[in-house]
């Protein structure tokens, strides 16, 4: 039962990350290859502010969002004007730098040892406990994040984003401030990824430097493309499939094989096959990635 709770919580956190990545990639065509870093930035901001600065969980969470958005603006301003491949590279460079800084700035991040003892959220005198309490907390946060993204995707904002994604020049010719809109949406993606980082920090009560690098980036991209672009349902299906898939291996057994590597091999194979046979993902709309 506890394990099932854990799986559910992980699916929800990844679903939130996926939906925020979808806002960038699916809706705005911003191929953010650094999304995992914002996740990490949010986790560390939360941990540092609660454990070292003694702030309450809610303030820390809000500041984590702000930090993610702020750093996204900082990195987006010079890089969003670059062409597709350059942007992918720049963002990946950024994410390597973030990982390196987390490990090397020991005075702030405690280096490779990570930060322990992140408090659980509390409301009034009620302290959220492990188990169902945490499940409820994550579920409420997930509902909130999905609600916000649903509002985005059902508003005139979506049309403007899709216009930019499909043809920037035409979007400009129709009065859309392309540069500003892209920066705003990139900041939102960064902010919400950071919020997911805060959720993760509250759940694990511990942050460490691994988990925000290339593997996580690929996992997030895989989740997005398995589920499909521009689809709230897809943002749930992708993480659910990829999180629960490996569980099957526990049952059919794979003695002597490293489950982690089998998992990775399958992610890789899945990405290739998806691009070949179903670029819109399992439940995604045909819009989105022009594949």
């Amino acid at each position: 039962m506890e394990y099932l709770q854990h799986l559910l919580i992980m699916v929800m956190i990844y679903a939130c990350l996926t939906v925020s990545l979808d806002l960038n990639i699916g809706h705005a065509g911003i191929l953010s290859f650094g999304h995992a870093s914002f996740y990490g930035i949010g986790a560390y901001t939360t941990a540092i502010l609660t454990v070292y600065a003694g702030l309450d969980w809610f303030t820390a969470m809000v500041l984590a969002f702000a930090m993610g958005a702020f750093i996204a603006v900082l990195i987006g301003l010079p890089t969003l004007r670059l062409g597709g491949d350059y942007f992918i590279l720049a963002l990946f460079g950024f994410s390597l730098i973030v990982t390196s800084l987390i490990i090397n700035m020991e005075w702030l991040t405690n280096g490779p040892f990570g930060i322990r003892g992140v408090p659980r959220p509390s409301i009034g005198s009620y302290q959220v406990q492990s188990g169902y309490g945490m499940l409820g907390f994550i579920a409420i946060m997930t509902a909130f994040i999905f609600f916000v993204h649903w509002r985005f995707a059902s508003s005139p904002m979506k049309a403007a984003l899709h216009a930019i994604r499909d043809d920037e020049s035409v979007a400009m010719s129709l009065g859309i401030n392309v540069v500003r809109t892209k920066i705003i949406v990139f900041a939102l993606g960064g902010g919400f990824a950071a919020l997911c980082g805060a959720m993760g920090a509250f759940y694990f009560r511990f942050v460490s430097a691994d988990g925000y690098g290339l593997q996580t980036i690929i996992l997030l991209w895989a989740m997005l493309f398995v589920g499909g672009n521009c689809s709230l349902l897809g943002a749930f299906v992708g993480p659910a499939v990829l999180m629960l898939f490996p569980e099957l291996f526990r049952f059919i057994g794979g003695q002597g094989w490293d489950i982690g590597h089998i998992q990775e091999a399958l992610y890789g194979l899945l990405l290739i096959l998806l691009m070949m046979f179903r670029p819109q993902g399992l439940v995604g709309n045909k819009v989105g990635l022009r594949a």
Partner: protein, 292 residues
């Protein structure tokens, strides 16, 4: 003379990066694929060398030829199995990139499953040092220099003097062509992947012999090469080589003042600075200009 030693070391690693970077650049210029799986090709060459030396007990020169051929074949195989079907579907560049990421992930995982994640060594102990004045060289420095001095002129002659080489250059100028100088582009792609992967094979043979083989060894090298292509300027092969030497020097010279763990920051800091102030790179032209 620490600084001079670091300079020499920087040139040596620059030479290795130059091989992978020019290989990557040939592929990127001709196909416009952000070929992340180049890292897997690199690693495949390393394991091929390991198998040839340790399991088949082939003499070193033969083993190196096996490694080179394997790398080339592996690169072509990725093109045939991953990129060609995607091209046939008229997939977007983003889809090709994701396919490439998939191939990289798949290959790294399969290498780990077959060979484990342990480093496999081809030899034991430190390499003998040759002291010249105050600097010391290993055989690796010398071979790296020799390969660059031999391989790049041959590559240059091939690209400028032969029918297929010229076709590759013409394709780089206009990647949308389907037939270049009487050569079918799909054929040309195979050749491009073979040559680009072959160059990675040279680099990995040296690195594998020196430091051993690991499943994820290709990724950092590939990524530095990619940065080198940007820093040097996309579309100009000597630019990629120059960018590679620059990064190799930067990485090693930074050791003078910083500890080794800041190397990632140094390399990608350089990338970000270039993207900010000189996105066209040292020599190149910006490829992606705004389409009106």
């Amino acid at each position: 003379m620490l600084l001079l030693q670091l300079f020499i070391d920087g040139l040596a690693s620059g030479a290795l990066y130059a091989l992978t970077a020019v290989g990557f650049a040939i592929i990127y210029n001709g196909t416009r694929i952000l070929h992340m799986a180049h890292g897997a090709v690199f690693t495949a060459g390393g394991y091929a060398l390991y198998i040839a030396v340790k399991l088949l007990h082939l003499p070193m020169p033969v083993a190196v030829i096996v490694a080179l051929a394997s790398a080339a074949a592996f690169g072509v195989l990725i093109d045939l199995l991953v990129y060609r079907p995607l091209r046939a579907r008229k997939s977007s560049e983003a889809a090709l990139f994701i396919g490439s990421i998939g191939a990289l992930t798949l290959c790294q995982a399969v290498f780990a499953l077959i060979f484990t994640t342990d480093t496999l060594y081809l030899r034991q102990g430190p390499l003998p040092l040759y002291d010249i004045g105050e600097i010391s060289l290993t055989i690796m420095h010398i071979i790296a220099a020799a390969i660059v001095i031999v391989v790049f002129p041959i590559l240059h002659l091939f690209l400028t003097r032969t029918k297929y080489g010229r076709a590759i250059r013409a394709l780089a100028d206009n990647p949308k062509l389907s037939v270049v100088r009487g050569v079918n582009v799909e054929r040309l792609y195979m050749l491009i992947f073979a040559i680009g992967s072959l160059l990675a094979g040279f680099a990995v043979s040296l690195i594998a012999y020196d430091l051993g083989v690991r499943p994820e060894m290709g990724f950092p090298v590939m990524f530095v090469s990619l940065v080198a292509v940007i820093v040097g300027g996309v579309g100009y092969l000597p630019g990629a080589a120059a960018g590679a030497f620059l990064l190799g020097l930067l990485q090693n010279l930074s050791l003078w003042q910083l500890s080794g763990r800041w190397q990632d920051v140094v390399v990608f800091g350089a990338l970000l600075i270039f993207l900010l102030f000189r996105p066209a790179g040292l020599f190149g032209h910006m490829l992606s200009t705004r389409r009106v």
